[in-house]
Structures are given as structure tokens and as C-alpha cells.
């Protein structure tokens, strides 16, 4: 110790803290300084790039939202909950949530507390870069000598907190290491294959905190420590008895930090820095416009490559199809691998489960749609003949309800018959808009990336609906429902899916049903559940007319039936496999029948299911109380 104290700086602060080095500098900080400077420059350039590619309107939106008190509060809350604590993971997989928050929140607290400590006890070092503002708070423990007689309660509290959060992070790191060996223990069946940069950054991240513990352990008798570092210091002393290990560990700690920052932009850990920006942009209401630039780029770099979407993806029933998951899609986008990106984008079912379960909230289905748009939107079309369409004339024509069955319902006349029967028995008058065939809602075109064509279909339908003077638009297909809700802007007209409407009729007492003995399981169609958030209404009705059983995974975790119109290239066989796995998931509690509220799911399940498949309207129709 004497040799180290020889060069001691003589000024003692009231807290009894002495700078051990006159300039507060040692060569070992260099790797860290290089790393942190690199990442700061990289981030700035990235930020400018992203802002440059946003449209002027989007930039203005972003600026306004940052300074609007309401969204500002939401931003802070979201950044705290999503980036640091990761409440979304906690809710589904507590152990994984603990692991992540231990590393993220623990590290964050170490940095914040370290800075507060310096601000309180050695404030002059925060003033300028020349005084070491960049590295001093990080290596604070190396540069100071803490006189034991002067130790204050305030100082000890910080020693304790720093050790406590270090232990917290170390527990997270230990779990992370265990996860590499046995991911299922933390609730993950599949994990992402790490790339080279991922590996470098990962091993550095693993090394940073044990090294910090070692380094602070060696200096604990000089710079102070608490329950973790003090005993370690005593132990080292009794083994080594000299300070030869002192500098090498601090060097190693700095090198690991530097390497981590250097590997960061090319690895999954970029999400640590980009996620807050994504949250700001998302809360400002920005949407993906180009598949690789602007907002999409923020999403791409915010992907943490955690692999939660691998377990979520309905394609995971076959191992060969795992490569179509969002993690790999985003990884290839990041690497500009156009061929693979296109293949994955066209294969995806667009069920939205990866988006619903993504802890970062990367809307990869929307990026896929934008990507399809680049190659498909130029294709020509001719919808002039559709102008011939007119509403079917029946009686006085004045009805508040317009029923739009949609293309898919016309393939399953049973659904149409059931819906009309229910409406009639509730005494409702309605216009059946596409009784003799109608214009498609435009959603399939949108999903295929043919936005221009979709817009024309939408405008034709919109004109027809607005002119009819109806007040309620009733739909029996979730695909139509989604597009009518999101893209039509029908002003005062209420847009209802038949599950919502029938629930309303039963609650108001306009439709009377009897409770039967049939046990059912309800399948949440992707577009209705995850797409529009309709989960409760169909369940309410089914509980009233029979026994509702639970599926293994339901609501926002429900598995796509495989029939989705979202996929452009998935073949029949693979779709069949997905349908089978979805049925396995539904029949976990041995229900007597599967009930769904989508004509497409209905057809997909019918082909594969060992038990009867019924449509929601069909079941309601069977249980109408006859007077």
C-alpha cells in the first residue's frame, strides 16, 4: 500500500477522500475510453441517419410528442418499465424477467449511484472531459483513498448500495450463464443462435461484473467497500499479501468494458441504447413507411434478439421453418441480406404473435408488409367493373344494420345462415350488403403489399357503406373487421364483429339463449384477438350457452390456424402441420368441440380436427331460446 500512496494527492476533502493520482489518470482507462467514445459517435451518427430518413411530418410528430406532458410521462414510464424492469417478461416468465431486470436495472443503478457518489464526494471530476468525466465515475474506486477515520454514514450507505447492486447484477449474470446451458429452465424452448459479434459482446458482458468484483475487492482496503468487497479484500490479502494483482484486474475490467462497447453496434446488445428511442418514436405514433429506413431502422436495431419470438412463432412446429421467425428476419435485414429477407417476409403468416409477445415491441409484421410493398405495389390492376356493384334491394331498404359477410364467409354459407337467423330472431332488420357477392374488404391486398390496389377497394366499399345510411356495420370475418376498423375511417358508423354484437344482444336481453351441456374451447382468431383486442365478448357468450374450457395457450398467445391469408408462399402441407399443432393446443382439456369466430380458421380446423369444429354464430344459433 505504501508504494501506491507515495504518489498521493495531498488534498483531503471533508469526507476523508483523497485522490491517489494527481491527474486522476492511469493508462488502464484507455480501452474503456476508446470503447465508450466509439459507441457515442456511432449512436450520434445512427440517430442523425434515422431522423434524416423520417418524413418531415413524422419528425414534427416526434418533436411535438416529446414535449407534450401526457406522452412525456408515458415515455418515462415506458422506458422505466420496458427497458429497465421489463415488466412484459416478468408477467410471462418471472425467472427470465428477474434475469433481465437484474442485469439491466442493476447495471443502471451501478452507473447512476457511481455518478451520484462522485458528484457528492469528488464533484470536480464531473466538470469536464479533461478531469476524467468520461471514465472517472466508472473507475472511482481505483482513484481514491478513503481514510478509515473519516468514513461517514453517508459514504457507507453508498458502499453498501454499490455492493448490493453488484450482487444483484451478478445473480442475473449467473442465471444468464445457466440459461445458455439449459434455456428451458428459464421458460425458453428455443433460443437464438448467436452471431460472432453477439458472442464477443456476450462473453464480455459475462466477464465485466465478476471482474468488477475482483477489482473492487483488491482495492477495498484503500477505497472502501461493504459486505461483498471487504471480505473479498481480506481473503485476497491473506492469500496474496501484495498488490501485484491490483492493476491487472483493473486493466482487464476496462478491456472487457471497451470490447463490449466496440462489439455492441454489431451485436444484439445494441437494443440497450436503441430501445428508449424506439419507445419515444412509437409513443409519437410513427409507423413503418420504408422497410429498412427511418422508423424501421430504429425497430431493427432495437431488437434484442432474445428469441422469445421463436417459441411464439406458429411455424416452430417444424424445425426447418424456425428460420422464418422474426429474430432471423430482423438479423438478415440488419445485414442487408436481401434474398433471405424477401423469402422470410413472404413466408410469414402475419399472425402477429411475435409482435404481441415481443418484450421490446418490435412490430416485425409491419416491416414485412412494408417489404412486400416494395416489390408488389407496382403491379397493375383494373377494378373498374366493381363500380357495377349495387346494394341488394329488399323491401323499404331502411335498416340501421348493415351485414357485410365478406369473401371467406361466402365459402362457409353455414356462418351466413346462422348470423342472419340470429339477427332475425332478435327482431333486427338489416341490409345484407354482399348477398349476391361484393367487393373484397382490401385486407388481403394490404397484407400482400399491394397498397394501391387495396386503397381502391377500400374507397369503393367506403362509398357504398356511407351512402347506405346504416349505423352499425356488422362483420362475420375478423380479416374484414380489422381493415374496416383500422383503415376505413367510417366516422359515426359503429363497426362490430358478430361476437361483439351478439354479446351485446344477449346482455341487453334482446336475444334469449339457453344454456346447453356442450363443452367447448374457444380459438382466438389472430386478426380478432391480437389484431383488434376482442377476447372477452365471445367468451362471455360461450359461457352463457355452454361449458367453456381453456386451451393450453389462449388469448394473445393463441396459435394461428395455419390458414392465414398473410402468408404468400407457405404451402398446403406446412399449413396443415400448423393447423394440427393449433388443434393440439386447443384440445388440451378434452372439450367436445372447437369453436372459432373466423371462417378461415373454421375451414382450416375442419380438415384436421378429430372433434367437431363449430362457428361461433352456429353455436349461438343452436341455443336460441324458442318462445
Amino acid at each position: 500500500m505504501t508504494t501506491l500512496l507515495n504518489t498521493m494527492y495531498t488534498q483531503i476533502t471533508p469526507e476523508g477522500i483523497i485522490d491517489r493520482y494527481p491527474n486522476s489518470y492511469n493508462h488502464f482507462v484507455l480501452p474503456f475510453v476508446i470503447g465508450i467514445s466509439f459507441i457515442i459517435v456511432y449512436l450520434l451518427i445512427g440517430l442523425i441517419r434515422i431522423l434524416y430518413h423520417l418524413t418531415a411530418e413524422d419528425r414534427k410528430k416526434l418533436l411535438v410528442s416529446i414535449f407534450t406532458p401526457k406522452t412525456a410521462v408515458k415515455n418515462i414510464k415506458d422506458i422505466f418499465c420496458d427497458c429497465l424492469i421489463h415488466t412484459k417478461i416478468w408477467k410471462r416468465k418471472p425467472l427470465l424477467g428477474y434475469m433481465h431486470s437484474a442485469i439491466a436495472f442493476g447495471w443502471f443503478m451501478l452507473i447512476v449511484l457511481g455518478h451520484i457518489e462522485v458528484a457528492l464526494f469528488a464533484p470536480r471530476h464531473l466538470d469536464s472531459i479533461a478531469d476524467g468525466a468520461l471514465y472517472y465515475p466508472i473507475f472511482y474506486r481505483f482513484f481514491i483513498w478513503m481514510s478509515p477515520e473519516h468514513e461517514t454514514l453517508r459514504g457507507s450507505l453508498f458502499f453498501f448500495l454499490m455492493d448490493f447492486f453488484l450482487l444483484y447484477v451478478l445473480s442475473g449474470i449467473a442465471l444468464a450463464m445457466y440459461k445458455r446451458v439449459r434455456s428451458i429452465a428459464l421458460g425458453m424452448r428455443h433460443t437464438t443462435k448467436p452471431s460472432l459479434a453477439d458472442r464477443v459482446a456476450l462473453y464480455c458482458l459475462w466477464a465485466i461484473f465478476p471482474l468488477r468484483l475482483l477489482a473492487e475487492g483488491f482495492t477495498a482496503d484503500l477505497s472502501g467497500g461493504s459486505f461483498l468487497t471487504r471480505p473479498l479484500n481480506w481473503l485476497f490479502k491473506s492469500f496474496f499479501g501484495n498488490e501485484l494483482n491490483f492493476l491487472p484486474t483493473w486493466w482487464l475490467y476496462s478491456i472487457c468494458l471497451g470490447l463490449f462497447f466496440l462489439a455492441m453496434p454489431f451485436s444484439r446488445y445494441m437494443h440497450i441504447l436503441t430501445e428508449p428511442m424506439l419507445i419515444l418514436m412509437r409513443n409519437a405514433g410513427l409507423k413503418v413507411r420504408k422497410p429498412r429506413k427511418g422508423f424501421a431502422e430504429a425497430e431493427i436495431y432495437a431488437c434484442s434478439s432474445c428469441g422469445l419470438c421463436l417459441d411464439a412463432c406458429p411455424m416452430n412446429t417444424q424445425k426447418k421453418n424456425l428460420k422464418y421467425s422474426s429474430v432471423y428476419f430482423i438479423r438478415f435485414l440488419r445485414r442487408h441480406n436481401e434474398k433471405k429477407v424477401k423469402e422470410i417476409a413472404e413466408k410469414c403468416l402475419m399472425c402477429g404473435k411475435c409482435y404481441a409477445l415481443c418484450p421490446v415491441g418490435v412490430n416485425s409484421p409491419d416491416i414485412r408488409r412494408a417489404l412486400r410493398e416494395t416489390s408488389n405495389t407496382k403491379l397493375s390492376y383494373d377494378y373498374a367493373p366493381m363500380d357495377k356493384f349495387s346494394l341488394p334491394v329488399e323491401g323499404d331498404q331502411k335498416a340501421d344494420i348493415m351485414y357485410f359477410a365478406g369473401c371467406m364467409s361466402h365459402l362457409t354459407p353455414k356462418i351466413i345462415k346462422s348470423v342472419t337467423t340470429v339477427l332475425e330472431s332478435a327482431g333486427k332488420k338489416f341490409i345484407f350488403a354482399d348477398r349476391e357477392g361484393g367487393i373484397c374488404c382490401g385486407r388481403p391486398m394490404l397484407l400482400a403489399g399491394r397498397t394501391e390496389a387495396a386503397k381502391e377497394l377500400i374507397s369503393k366499399n367506403k362509398k357504398m357503406i356511407m351512402e347506405s345510411g346504416c349505423k352499425i356495420l356488422l362483420l362475420s370475418c375478423p380479416i374484414c373487421y380489422k381493415v374496416f376498423k383500422d383503415d376505413y375511417d367510417l366516422k359515426d358508423i359503429r363497426i362490430l364483429h358478430y361476437t361483439q354484437y351478439m354479446n351485446e344482444l344477449i346482455e341487453k336481453g334482446e336475444l334469449k339463449v339457453t344454456k346447453g351441456s356442450l363443452s367447448m374451447v374457444y380459438h382466438d382468431p389472430c386478426e380478432l384477438g391480437r389484431g383488434c383486442g376482442v377476447y372477452e365478448e365471445p367468451r362471455n357468450v360461450l359461457k352463457a350457452i355452454g361449458e367453456l374450457k381453456k386451451a393450453e395457450k389462449e388469448r394473445d398467445e393463441s396459435i394461428c390456424c395455419g390458414g392465414s391469408l398473410g402468408s404468400l408462399t407457405l404451402d398446403n402441407k406446412d399449413r396443415g402441420k400448423i393447423a394440427e399443432s393449433s388443434i393440439d393446443n386447443l384440445t388440451a382439456e378434452n372439450p367436445q368441440s372447437i369453436v372459432t369466430a373466423c371462417p378461415l380458421c373454421y375451414r382450416s380446423f375442419r380438415e384436421k380436427s378429430p372433434i367437431p369444429v363449430k362457428d361461433f354464430a352456429e353455436v349461438v344459433c343452436e341455443n336460441i331460446k324458442s318462445n
Binding site: 390492376y381 367493373p385 357495377k388 371467406m408 365459402l411 357477392g437 390496389a453 404468400l568
Partner: protein
């Protein structure tokens, strides 16, 4: 070939010299399913756009094989991509992607 003008109905003769083999083989390369079609016409019968104007994947495929590119594209130009034809195809052809590919390959000038 000479048309003697004695026919009562218009000639349905196919002049295979006019057929663009290159484009068709390009189509088969990306869409091997195109050859699976047995021309049953389920797609045409169920077509949503067919209510308004003749739209038929079945005829379009036949026309492409016979070199009538313009007519084929015309038969598909009203397609709304709703996917009913995929659902009813007894051969399990991914009709939507087939239509997309036909448009992409034959519309390119």
C-alpha cells in the same frame, strides 16, 4: 397457316410459334404448382371478382400455355386477392402466389 374462311365458329387454333416459351418456363421455375392445375374450374366458380367481370385463373393458365399473354393478364386483372380460390383448389395450389407471379413475370416490360 392459311385461314380458308369456311369455318362456322371462330377458329380455336393455337399457333404455338407465337408462344413465349421463355416467360412460361420462368413461371414454372418459380411456380412449379402451375403444372399441377387440372383445369377443374373451382377457382373460377368461387371467384369474388368473377361476379363483376370474367376472372379465371384456370383460363388464364390455359391462355398462357397457348401464348395468349394479353388475354391471360386481362383475366386476372380484376383479382382482389381474397384467397377463396386457394381454399377451394382440390390440387392444393397456392393460387394467390401463382397469380402474383404471373403478374410479376408477364407484366414486366
Amino acid at each position: 397457316m392459311i385461314d380458308f374462311g369456311f369455318g362456322l365458329s371462330p377458329s380455336s387454333r393455337v399457333n404455338l410459334d407465337l408462344r413465349d416459351k421463355e416467360l412460361f418456363s420462368k413461371l414454372i421455375e418459380t411456380e412449379s404448382d402451375a403444372l399441377k392445375c387440372m383445369a377443374c374450374g373451382s377457382c373460377t366458380a368461387s371467384c369474388s371478382a368473377g361476379v363483376f367481370e370474367e376472372t379465371s385463373l384456370r383460363s388464364a393458365l390455359l391462355n398462357l400455355q397457348n401464348g395468349n399473354k394479353e388475354k391471360a393478364l386481362n383475366l386476372l386483372s380484376h383479382c382482389m386477392f381474397c384467397g377463396k380460390c386457394t381454399m377451394v383448389c382440390p390440387r392444393g395450389i397456392n393460387t394467390r402466389h401463382l397469380i402474383l407471379s404471373i403478374n410479376k413475370i408477364y407484366q414486366a416490360r
